[in-house]
Symmetry: C2
Subunit: 226 residues, 2 copies
């Protein structure tokens, strides 16, 4: 890589770095000018690297998904393959740990979408990384015969799930298991969002215990028994 290209990569990274810091400190209304000021540079210079504030935000979102995905992957990979429950717990805990460490980034990824912002294509692949970890657990459970749930599904739901299972990433998972997986997934992020967005203040004080309990409940619901 040429010197100039390297410099471009470096400053791009520096901009994202300070933008992330601003995000963590001042919340989601990220000011491009403030970031530029922090870098000792005039605001228009930043536009050499990001076409707009939304572009910068998108870059942060992609990085966020990747960071979360990487965290989740290594945490889950540390568990013995055969212990599906342990893998599920590791998955859930890793998501929560990352979310609590980066609450504003979490809000960016999983909160209400930013103004006119439509998630660009670049974000969907990294966004799927944590999902694929869950799917790998479900697939292994199906293969080993551990996951035995077999609910009746409405025709329309079954059709959508069949479409999904036709893709290579979701192959070999039964519709009923996948349906429960999506239930648990929504529950997981619902619980986490409740916690991080302050919707449980006054009701829950011990969030660790609460989350563990919910995780266990959903683990059982999935049919993952220790």
């Amino acid at each position: 890589m040429g010197v100039r290209a390297q410099a471009r990569v470096d400053t791009t990274e520096a901009i994202k770095q300070t933008a992330r810091r601003h995000l963590a400190q001042d919340g989601p209304n990220l000011s491009l000018r403030a970031v530029a000021r922090d870098l000792g540079v005039v605001s228009s210079a930043v536009y050499r690297y990001f076409a707009s504030r939304d572009d910068l935000l998108t870059a942060l979102i992609v990085d966020g998904y990747d960071a979360l995905g990487a965290n989740v992957e290594v945490a889950e990979a540390r568990q013995p393959r055969g212990d599906l429950a342990a893998r599920w717990f590791a998955l859930g805990r890793a998501i929560r740990a990352w979310a609590r460490a980066n609450p504003h980034e979490y809000a960016l990824l999983y909160g209400s979408p930013v103004p006119g912002y439509a998630a660009p294509r670049d974000t969907v692949e990294p966004a799927n990384r944590p999902v694929l970890v869950l799917v790998s657990i479900l697939r292994d459970g199906a293969a080993s015969g551990t996951l035995t749930v077999n609910d009746r599904l409405p025709r329309a739901v079954r059709a959508d799930l069949a479409q999904l299972i036709a893709t290579p990433e979701f192959a070999d998972v039964s519709p009923a298991v996948l349906a429960r997986g999506m239930t648990a997934w929504a529950q997981l992020f619902g619980t986490l969002s409740f916690e991080l967005f302050g919707r449980l203040t006054g009701a829950v004080t011990n969030y660790d215990a609460y989350f563990e309990y919910q995780l266990k409940a959903m683990g059982s619901y999935l049919g993952l028994h220790r």
Copy 2:
């Protein structure tokens, strides 16, 4: 009420009305100046009625909670008292219907909290209205002996729930039932947020069927059988 007081109420309502319209059309970055312009008034005039943009947003949030709460209450009240499952379905469907009709308001209420915004006390009571509808279902189920779930709860979780049950609104609900209620609640809003925030695009096409199925799954999880 004097003429002046009446006029004040009227313009306050007019401001909120157009603000709501702007919210629905242009998304969450509500511009006070644009609202003022729309009312044929200079921006500083609006400050006679709302101390800040955040104050106006708070008013909209309170109204939103109240509108949602009212919707949910009447929908649930229409069901026969003894049919707990029907009441649960009515509750869930009413929430979704309102959310889909007012997606930006839903995002305001249940999405990531606005910038430096800390939910003022005025919002917590209306925010609880939908919750109390669920609690009434759980209470009736406990009283009639229909709800029989009795999971073991971790000590810390049980302690938090006991605190909650000590309040009059939650009286007579068993900790185990309440725990499942909170699980289902998080699942419900998780599913709804996934739908409204576009997190299911590519996976689900028939959202009605999908939501119905999730609602039914959580109804069963709560122990509400038809």
